[in-house]
Amino acid sequence: MSDLLRLATAGSVDDGKSTLVGRLLYDTKSVLADTLDAVHRASADRGLTTPDLSLLVDGLRSEREQGITIDVAYRYFATPKRSFVLADTPGHVQYTRNTVTGASTAQLGVLLVDARKGVIEQTRRHAAVLALLGVPRLVLAVNKIDLVDFDEVTFARIAKEFTAHATALGYAEDAVVEIPVSALAGDNVVERSARTPWYDGPTLLEHLESVPVEPDAHDAPFRFPVQYVIRPRTAEHPDYRGYAGQVAAGTVRVGDEIAVLPAGLRSTVTGIDTADGPLPEAAAGHSVTLLLAHDLDISRGDLIATAGQPPRVTDEFDATVCWLSEKPLTPGARVLVKHGTRTVQAIVTELRTRFDEQKLGSTDAPDSLSLNEIGQVSVRTAEPIPVDDYTKDRRTGAFLVIDAADGSTLAAGLVGAPLPEVDGVDSCTEGGDAALPDNHALVSPGP
């Protein structure tokens, strides 16, 4: 079992996400006395009689003033069983891009709903974003269960609806767990609640401690974006030439045959170096330096891959993008694509579909994608790049879309990733809507 779990929270504003995170930290005794004193003082200053646990995590002035979370924060806590890195992401619609940020590296997503409201559109949307980004497991924390009198029927109804939604998004049933909690009072977060005798599942923490973590893709085909060429030119190492990088997927062994892409050169691995000495093999996640049998022209931006199963090298591909910028995307946009360690000029030649957040299906060719919208696009790059499908490899299938003029990050890109389709929505039947892209939600029939 892995000793580390990376998780991301998501949920609608005011559903108590910061309080839940504060409660997790507080009840696992991850909050030290001086920090807690500060929260007690700040709560008292605001006229509260009990400490406001959300103040543990909402660290920015404007967050504390408004009582909302604006930006992703990373929290660290540990129990004797496991360490946790938690990306605490905001729920406000205009900050959904931060859900994408948190989800890009998460192994588990914790979605919150208010037990009084149940599964709402934002829940469905966040679950779809987590599914799209390839987060392997979900937890639905049905919060404020105290405000529905710890009602089993209410919980069961919400759990059933969420399971159905998650399985429609492609999750196996055992990858999704629902837990009734009260973040404010602490029920079933760390301590088991006596007020939900009908619930026999784990508390949130018990689940986080025991949920299987998908191992790094050690068995996947080997992928290694070259970051930097190490050439000491010192008396001790006059001829040393090593290719430094982090193994993105798979395993490499001394003696392996490799291909260098996009050029397509071949060679053999003669050494795997680290500052601590040579290794016989290195697997996903490991930063190493590769030595090769031949003196090839290899530089930052190249990808070293197993010769037997190389990625596809192409200058045209389809991808899903999560648009993260206020500047909308229109067809023909000239952008930069950062894939692995290579940044290339690119044109978004076509907007193929837009993800319809109301119906959780996709609609036909939009005129533009704006902030927080997700859609499928066609991309043409100025030079060929080696890509895998995102669903096969989260690292070599991912890319950034960058604004060439001001350097800002415009979008998260996922090569080939199909948009989630729920409830059998068939985008082909909606061709007539293409002329009215902005009115989709209005003209489409109800479920």
Binding site: L32, Q227, Y240
Partner: protein, 301 residues
């Protein structure tokens, strides 16, 4: 997989930091490592050495010297720099006070005064990437910090305008005059730092371990005598067995009473402590609820 290649937590953190160092080396023209001789910057340098081995670290170091240093730390700083054959730039707060560009604060602390010399050094040397040892577990505002953090031409952090940071694809693009602060230790906790120092046998300034020293009590913290003034009237000097948990400007860095004379004892003490590193010994964070955020907005690390 049960081979030696499966990484444990420290291995993952090390690998991530090395990846970050190499990204910066690959994409920026003039990076620099902020180096004070404290444990976080010593760890940072250790990781940089590993990232480029067997080649030398391709960056110079920069120390923003408040003039309120512990002798042991400056001595250690110079030894480490010499051992690795690196170039050290020093920006001195004292120079700014001497020629009137900065004024001594009434409370005597010089920590907040570091911002101007830091930004001047960045501009003067045209540094475009500045590595710092900041960790997200240190403070609420730090928890919001990206690994690549864009600063405008005034060196300011704008929390509402941070770039999303996705996968391990870091966007280091910046316009002339802007620079990027880079935090390879973002995902480390204080305990991770100490466990790693133990695992790697990293040498630190001696004052991190228990020793006898004359100190006096001010605002609940044990301060040592030094160029920062004190003890003042009514502050009694006592000899105590103490150690330092953080090492910064002497005027606002307090010692903790401790018998932890070696690394195992320090790890046990940190693991059992009910006080955070900064809360225990850093007066500058106590100024207001958002003291760190406010300083970062001004350009502080």
């Amino acid at each position: 997989m049960t081979t030696a290649t499966a990484l444990d937590t420290l291995g993952r953190l090390e690998s991530e930091a090395i990846h970050i160092f190499r990204e910066v080396a690959g994409e920026f023209d003039r990076p620099v490592i902020l180096f004070s001789g404290g444990k976080d910057s010593t760890l940072l340098l250790h990781l940089a050495v590993k990232a480029f081995w067997p080649a030398p670290v391709p960056f110079p170091l920069l120390h923003v010297d408040t003039g309120h240093n512990f002798d042991e730390v400056i001595e250690f700083r110079d030894q480490v720099v010499a051992r690795h054959g690196l170039r050290l730039e020093v920006a001195k707060v004292q120079d700014y006070i001497d020629d009137g560009r900065l004024a001594e604060r009434p409370d005597g602390t010089r920590n907040p005064l570091q911002t101007v010399p830091l930004l001047d050094a960045i501009t003067g040397h045209k540094f475009d990437a500045v590595f710092g040892g900041g960790r997200r577990d240190e403070e609420r505002a730090r928890a919001k910090e990206r690994i690549f953090s864009l600063r405008n031409s005034f060196g300011q952090w704008e929390p509402r305008r941070q770039r999303p940071e996705l996968w391990n694809l870091y966007n280091g693009r910046h316009r002339p005059g802007e620079h990027v602060r880079v935090f390879p230790l973002s995902n480390w906790t204080e305990l991770d730092v100490w466990h790693y120092i133990a695992r790697e046998g990293i040498e630190l300034p001696s004052i991190y371990y228990a020793h006898r020293r004359e100190v006096y009590l001010r605002d609940g913290m044990w301060l040592a005598e030094g160029p920062w003034g004190g003890p003042r009237e009514g502050e009694e000097k006592l000899e105590k067995t103490i150690r330092y948990r953080t090492v910064g400007d002497g005027s606002c860095t307090g010692a903790v009473e401790s018998d932890a004379a070696d690394i195992e004892a320090v790890i046990a003490e940190v693991a059992a402590s009910r006080l955070t590193e900064r809360g225990a010994t850093r007066a500058d964070d106590r100024l207001s609820e958002a003291a760190m955020e406010d300083r970062k907005r001004e350009g502080y690390f």
